[in-house]
């Protein structure tokens, strides 16, 4: 067995796991407050995702530099992460206000809430404090995609049912305008159903991925052994 190949597959798997099997919202239940309430229209969802990208990626990049001897004492960590995120929130909010001016007002308290979200703590403690900066940013990026996909999906569904539009464009003329889909309870139920879907897919996909990896490793190992045998044979001759 080639240990290098196994390590490479494991690394790739843990990086990509943020999208499905370790999804921050659907599998771990993090960042639920803004996702449930603020994903009412596609514009709001996109504004939330942009703000989250600009807050989380630099925060985890900075955190990844602090390790080993410079490690922060345990009681200071949460305060440090929240402080760092709130500093990066200033450019993030500025950018979001420039791109989606009306969405910032509609998001209200849910945009500033991103600074104390559990995803920063979870990713910082699990990956950023013990990896190279590039790995930490890669991990944060895939987790952010895992955050953005369900938020945008929920936002699209809710916008379609509440006003018959998608990204402000009228799609369904006969829409019944169910404005109550913008209430938090619909968000909870939608995310609950999506979480069940993600769990089902993950339960099926993870063993399939493992099987595929094992097959690849066995194929590679057998190819290597035949090549070795051939070279040995040629040496003997």
């Amino acid at each position: 067995m080639d240990i290098q190949t196994i390590r490479r597959y494991k690394r790739n798997y843990s990086l990509l796991s943020g999208i499905l099997s370790n999804n921050p919202i659907l599998m771990q239940g993090l960042v639920l407050a803004p996702a449930v309430v603020a994903s009412t229209t596609l514009k709001n969802g996109l504004a939330l995702c942009i703000c989250a990208f600009v807050v989380f990626l630099p925060t985890l990049f900075v955190v990844s530099f602090i390790k080993g001897k410079n490690q922060i004492p345990h009681f200071l960590r949460m305060f440090f992460y929240a402080l760092l995120s709130s500093v990066f929130f200033i450019p993030a909010a500025f950018l979001t206000k420039a791109v989606f001016p009306s969405s910032v007002d509609m998001l209200g308290i849910y945009m500033p809430l991103l600074v104390v979200n559990t995803i920063v703590i979870a990713r910082a403690e699990a990956v950023a404090v013990r990896s190279r900066p590039l790995v930490a940013v890669g991990d944060a990026f895939f987790h952010m995609i895992g955050f953005a996909v369900p938020v945008l999906l929920a936002a699209g569904i809710r916008e379609y049912f509440s006003s018959g539009t998608l990204y402000g464009v009228l799609i369904d003329l006969n829409s019944r305008n169910l404005t109550q889909v913008n209430l938090p309870f619909v968000g909870f139920i939608l995310f609950g159903l999506m979480a069940a879907g993600a769990q089902l897919i993950s339960q099926k996909a993870t063993p399939a991925y493992r099987k595929w990896v094992n097959k690849r490793i066995i194929l590679k190992a057998s190819a290597e052994s035949t090549a070795e045998q051939q070279s040995r044979n040629s040496e003997e001759r």
Binding site: L26, M27, Q28, G29, L30, V31, L32, A33, V36, V37, F75, R77, M78, F79, Y81, A82, L83, S85, S86, V87, F89, I90, A93, F94, V104, G108, I109, P112, L113, V115, V116, N117, T118, T179, Q180, L183, P184, F185, V186, G187, F188, I189, F191, G192, L193, A195, A196, G197, Q199, L200, Q203
Partner: protein, 197 residues
């Protein structure tokens, strides 16, 4: 007497009508992390109630001079984190001087109960709604107690769901989210509102 009545009415309104979890979804993630351990949860909820009460006064005072500052929304989280940080360090200092098992338990739970969505969200609501000092305090107490109440409901629900035959895909987080969603709908109905059909 009327003031006492209004005080309790305010707390009950903040607890039920404007429940932190069911009507605003604040603090769902930290609640889901601690709710399995009922002992820890009541400690966590108790600390949150104290923190929201004390920080509501501090937040009200800190945002008074910033009422007309145009770019306030950019700096709101930073100011709040610094305020809560000061409160956290003061509490941590006193707890490290105190002796006993309970002090150590509270000290360990303190970081998670100060920097979370329930506390920061309540404080942001308080700032955005421009409340007076008294209503800020009432809102602070009510928010903390509302979080405790919500946690009690979710804890009880999870305990019962462990015994039920839940499909494999729904086990864990999905069924809890659906349960919170249905409870949230119930709280919406409790306030007398009706869904338009």
């Amino acid at each position: 007497m009327t003031y006492i009545g209004q005080f309790f009415m305010g707390i009950i309104t903040a607890m039920l009508v404007e429940n932190v979890l069911f009507t605003r979804a604040l603090g769902v993630s930290p609640l889901l992390l601690v709710v399995n351990k009922s002992k820890n949860f009541f400690l966590f909820g108790g600390i949150i109630t104290v923190i929201t009460t004390v920080s509501s006064v501090l937040t009200w005072a800190a945002f008074q001079p910033l009422k007309r500052f145009g770019y306030r929304y950019l700096f709101e989280p930073l100011i709040l984190v610094l305020l809560l940080g000061a409160l956290y360090f003061a509490a941590y200092y006193f707890l490290s001087r105190a002796k006993g098992e309970r002090a150590v338990l509270i000290k360990n739970a303190l970081p998670y109960s100060v920097f979370n969505c329930a506390v920061v969200g309540s404080m942001l609501l308080l700032v955005h709604n421009r409340m007076s000092l008294l209503s800020s305090v009432v809102f602070g107490i009510g928010s903390g107690l509302g979080f405790l109440l919500a946690g009690f409901f979710v804890n009880e629900g999870q305990r019962r769901m462990q015994q039920a035959d839940v499909p494999a895909a729904f086990r864990g987080l999905p069924i809890t989210l659906l349960y919170i969603g249905i409870l949230s709908l119930a709280f919406y109905g409790l306030t007398g509102r009706i869904l338009a059909v």
